[in-house]
């Protein structure tokens, strides 16, 4: 393991973007990083709100129409190597909102997240459990460590 992988394994900055879910996943994820019960910092995962600092982008929600461009802008702002975790069933497949207007194509829901930015890990659940989010971020480690 080179210095690059070694250092990357010991400092992972995570940024969250909410794209219009029901708040359930959002709070569970913040909970998993903020509360002392789960304490992601013990695995050297830090929460940041600055895209320039982030390595991993956690996206929740089905990406509503108004959220599409902000999500793209934030994704663009993150320096490489960057990875995306889609958390929650809305982010994975649009959830219950996807077929909002039945067969009529919906302009409201742009998701799932895969349609907009490349997704590296998927965390299922409605709402996701904090343990699963941590597992999802950790499962990205090999990809992150080997990236350029």
């Amino acid at each position: 393991m080179g210095l690059k992988s070694f250092s990357r394994a010991r400092a992972i900055h995570v940024m969250l973007v909410y794209t219009g879910g029901c708040n359930g996943c959002d709070i569970e994820i913040v909970n998993s990083i903020l509360s002392p019960r789960f304490d992601a910092e013990q695995y050297n995962v830090f929460l940041t709100w600055n895209p320039r600092e982030a390595d991993v982008l956690v996206v929740t929600g089905p990406v509503t129409h108004l959220n599409r461009k902000p999500l793209e802008a934030i994704y663009e702002a993150i320096p490489n190597p960057k990875l995306v975790v889609a958390a929650g069933s809305c982010a994975l497949m649009g959830g219950v909102y996807k077929n909002c207007y039945g067969d009529i194509p919906s302009e409201e829901i742009e998701g799932p997240v895969e349609n907009i930015i490349p997704v590296d890990a998927k965390v299922p659940g409605c709402a996701v459990r904090p343990q699963d989010v941590l597992a999802g971020v950790v499962s990205l480690l090999p990809t992150l460590l080997d990236a350029d």
Binding site: Y18, G20, N23, G24, D26, P36, L66, G95, C100, E108
Partner: protein, 375 residues
């Protein structure tokens, strides 16, 4: 009560915050119009979260529609499914077993606890007081575990069904005992936290007199829920709900309408919730938890109001051959947006997010509201 600082006509700059912001936790945009770091005008843009839940509900079988309402909000999910079931029950005249009524109240109060704890934790986080935020999050975990124990999931529990509660949510002796013990632990933890908070003069100087919402303004803006009660109006829908007939609790009010009143309000209301849960555990009747003995027929539009952690929640729909028609949902944050915008005025930019947070916003709830224009 002091009057607000009059709005200045000079606007130096506009500062947009959002849609992704550490203090917001939800996607919304707020534009602050600022003169020398004092907010003169605030404008909250919602609609970012619009997903059209009411539209999806339209034409769904009522059981499915009830389950769907839970996905409106991840914080007060139980309140939505409860009120949605209540709407149909009122329309169809379904009798609910006594035991189911008690379990619904227990779930409702547990949810109030977790919502209020989230409020306190989020408030401390916006104050940048990480330590207190973590302490509250730690206590909140107790409630989350209880909710997971009863409903099987940490967030969307799906407790209420038409005619009562899901049989899985029935409370046996072991669960009741754990509930009772955890209530003791929770009360102890919350008492400790409130004592620490009220003794911290630095924190108090930071929250006293910030984001003041005067009582007449609150009434004018039709504010609901704890935000209204924090301005001194004792209006709590739980006093009129038949579910709460058997329970004895106080309606908490606070005089000032500032951030401190709101925080204290939430803490004191949590104690009341603990009290209600204790009464429910002590008096829970035996019997079945769900009444399957009812018939479906077409109803006129029926409506139901309940008190949820953030204020008054309104659901209404008609039933047509078992399917939902004309669904309208009105969430408390809808009414409170005006209060959020008003509370920001005259405070520092650093306090602006705090003033919004003090009204307990839940824009994911709010973002499917339909504006009714009467002509």
């Amino acid at each position: 009560m002091d009057e607000k600082v009059p709005r200045s006509e000079i606007i130096e700059t506009e500062i947009p915050l959002g849609t992704v912001h550490p203090a917001a936790l939800e996607p919304y945009r707020v534009r602050l119009f600022v003169e020398d770091e004092i907010v003169q005008e605030a404008e909250i843009t919602i609609g970012v979260n619009h997903r059209g839940v009411e539209r999806i509900m339209e034409g769904l079988p009522v059981e499915k529609a009830n389950a769907l309402t839970e996905k409106i909000c991840g914080i007060c999910s139980n309140a939505h499914i409860w009120n949605s079931c209540r709407t149909a029950e009122l329309g169809l005249g379904i009798e609910i077993p006594e035991r189911a009524k008690f379990i619904r109240v227990i779930m409702g109060e547990l949810e109030r606890l977790h919502s209020h704890f989230l409020y306190l934790a989020h408030g401390c986080e916006v104050l940048s007081h990480e330590t207190f935020s973590m302490r509250v999050f730690y206590m909140r975990e107790i409630v989350m575990e209880l909710l997971a124990m009863i409903g099987g999931n940490r967030v969307q529990y799906g407790c209420s069904v038409l005619g009562g509660v899901r049989p899985r949510c029935d409370l046996d002796e072991a669960k009741l005992l754990r509930l009772k013990n955890d209530m003791d632990a929770l009360e102890e933890g919350l008492t400790g936290f409130v004592d620490r908070f009220m003794a911290d003069s630095i924190l108090l100087s930071r929250v006293t007199g910030i984001g003041v919402l005067p009582q007449n303004q609150a009434i004018e803006l039709a504010v609901t829920g704890p935000t209204l009660r924090a301005t001194g109006v004792a209006r709590d829908l739980r006093t009129t709900m038949f579910e709460y007939d058997d329970f004895d609790f106080n309606v908490i009010t606070q005089p000032d309408g500032d951030v401190k009143s709101n925080l204290v309000m939430r803490a004191l209301e949590s104690f009341e919730s603990i009290k209600i849960i204790r009464q429910a555990i002590a008096n829970i009747p035996e019997g079945k938890v769900v009444n399957r003995d009812w018939e479906m027929f077409d109803t006129d539009i029926s409506e139901s109001y309940i008190e949820v952690p953030r204020g008054t929640l309104y659901h209404s729909y008609a039933l047509e051959s078992g399917r939902v028609r004309h669904s309208i949902i009105r969430t408390p944050s809808m009414a409170n947006i005006g209060a959020m915008q008003y509370a920001c005025i005259g405070d520092q930019i650093t306090d602006a997010q705090l003033c919004i947070v003090q009204c307990d916003p839940c824009f994911t709830c709010t973002d499917r509201a339909i504006e009714i224009i009467r002509r």
